[in-house]
Symmetry: C2
Subunit: 358 residues, 2 copies
């Protein structure tokens, strides 16, 4: 590792947050990622810098006529899309690792990357570390429910979870709902296989008991949520382990795509239907956009000392720009402070220490 200021605390900041975009992460890096960063600056007015191989980034910026608009921080190494968690240990000079270093130094507030989820989770967990009291960082995604999206935590960072971790995931999700959507006392549900209390596997039953016992002023625990409720917006935060959450998220994506394809096939299956489809193009295009993951900004890795947003691996410029907007909203809304207020109160260790102080 280079640099001596890695352990420095982030500088308090009242100006708009600075987003460090990993220019080398994703299937379409660096070209489309750089274009997305330019779009975030020009169209959304965000403060963005790009991290990665300077010459490649500069060439793309020049093509966009944006050399003066987006600063570049050089990083000689990259994480490959098929590299997993161990990659983070091996590549201290990767663009993602260098972006984390900028955050630790206070030179940036957030990381946006379309790199492999496993690699970015591992890199940022090792380099940014968890906030005090947080057992494990968790991936939060928003589901396209309306009018306010439902946040699902954990969407895949922790394949094996413990009940206490699920309680923290609830608080992480609440901090997200409050910061990004202004929900003061979020409704929280646990993803389960039945609606009645006492249903489910050991992990979920125990987590439900713990959540019900919290009686929190900052959270409105609603008990079980089933798979068919996920898209109905019945709660603001859905809590689950990373295995179930990841399967549910990808099942939603796959089923929505499958259904839309089936609709398209049905609408072009006869001359009459084809004629109808022409009349409806606008309505269907807007619907497709609603399901398009690019509009949701990606997954937020919550609970670290710094905001991390992981965009889809195949993100195009609009997806990168939306991920930057999400990172801006979370970092600008000081989600870290929200989490700090919520999580220490739930930590047995902290409660113990506090009772000694009395």
């Amino acid at each position: 590792m280079t640099g001596t200021s890695d352990a420095d605390a982030p500088v308090p900041r009242t100006s708009p947050p600075i987003i460090a975009v990993d220019a080398m992460g994703g299937d379409n890096a660096p070209g489309e990622v750089v274009r997305g960063a330019v779009r975030a600056v020009r169209e959304l007015g965000l403060r963005v810098l790009l991290v990665g191989r300077r010459t490649e980034i500069a060439a793309q910026l020049a093509e966009e006529g944006a050399l003066r608009d987006v600063p570049v921080v050089h990083a000689e190494d990259t994480l490959a899309m098929d590299e997993g968690a161990l990659a983070s240990w091996r590549r201290p000079r990767s663009s993602a690792a260098v972006a984390c270093r900028l955050i630790r130094r206070g030179d940036a507030d957030a990381l946006v990357s379309a790199g492999s989820t496993g690699g970015i989770v591992a890199t940022s967990t090792v380099r940014l570390r968890t906030q005090p009291g947080v057992l494990r960082p968790a991936l939060a995604v928003t589901l396209p429910t309306g009018p306010v999206p439902t946040i699902m935590v954990d969407a895949g960072a922790n394949a094996d979870a413990k009940p206490e971790m699920l309680v923290q995931f609830a608080h992480l999700g609440c901090a997200y709902a409050q910061t990004a959507f202004g929900v003061e006392r979020p409704r929280v549900g646990v993803l389960n296989i039945g609606s009645e209390p006492g249903k489910g596997n050991k992990l979920i039953r125990r987590a439900s008991e713990l959540l019900a016992a919290e009686g929190s002023e900052s959270m409105d625990f609603r008990g079980n949520i089933e798979g068919h409720d996920l898209m109905l917006g019945r709660v603001d935060v859905v809590v689950t382990d990373g295995h179930t959450g990841n399967v549910a998220l990808k099942t939603i994506e796959g089923t929505a795509a499958f259904t839309m394809d089936a609709v398209r096939d049905a609408l072009t299956s006869s001359t009459m239907a084809k004629a109808g489809a022409v009349l409806q193009r606008g309505a269907l295009r807007r619907l497709r956009e609603r399901f398009d993951s690019e509009t949701y900004g990606g997954a937020a890795l919550l609970g670290l000392n710094g905001t991390v947003v992981i965009a889809h691996g195949d993100s195009h410029p609009e997806g990168i720009a939306q991920a930057c907007r999400l990172a801006h909203d979370l970092a600008g809304g000081r989600i870290g402070d929200q989490i700090r207020r919520r999580v220490p109160h739930r930590s047995a260790h902290w409660l113990h220490r506090r009772s000694e102080e009395r």
Copy 2:
């Protein structure tokens, strides 16, 4: 419990299987269930009998002009839809329990019920018992992939599973694929959160190792399947624990319904789109039917001494008739023999005994 012949072995049968329909199970029982049984007899040519309160069933049969078409076996008690597993112990004279007794006596081959899944799983597990070597019965559902459906096991019978159980679920699913769809060497995948080997939680990683080590002639193990692959028909059988499987199944149902509703809204959002919708009514109706769970016949509980099919709780007559057809196909195809051939070969206990015989 009444009757002394509960322990009798089922009588071998070459004639078409007899389906015992639980007339009292489901939100629309007994009326719609009786009408479904009549439809199964008249339109599908199946052998069906009805179990439940004789006077109520007879009244409905009379209304259908079907008193001579469907025999009735009286059962004075019923399981309520909100009764769970414990209900099975408390109600030996429930319609579901009496139907199980008919199967054990050899007077029927299969049970079809639209009662509560928890109650029917518990009742039939206690009363029919697992086949030799089978650790736990599992719920199998078919996903609407084409041309051959993908079977998912377990869809919710076992919220907490062990790796050895998942290996058996694979064999139960293969027996289903072979019996119902004629797939000789089914492709099997494990539902996981990544496509590469070594991904996933402890349960899935260990189950994958065991399945890969089997090198079975009767099964083509393909490794991991992700949530977005579920609807693509990449494998014939998807193996998962009951928690994840139930969440995935209900997420598919919820997302498909959500998407279809969104399509309907999009198609009626403007005058132009409305005009188009008129031209497309037929195509969209056929698509909706494809997603309609009534056409898939319900969930099969596999691994018991007798065929059990659990229809949707809100089944209408067509759903009950399709559940009867599935029960007919499974029992008539002797799925029990298939499971017997597959599962003992995988049981460590059985292997041990066999090596002693040599």
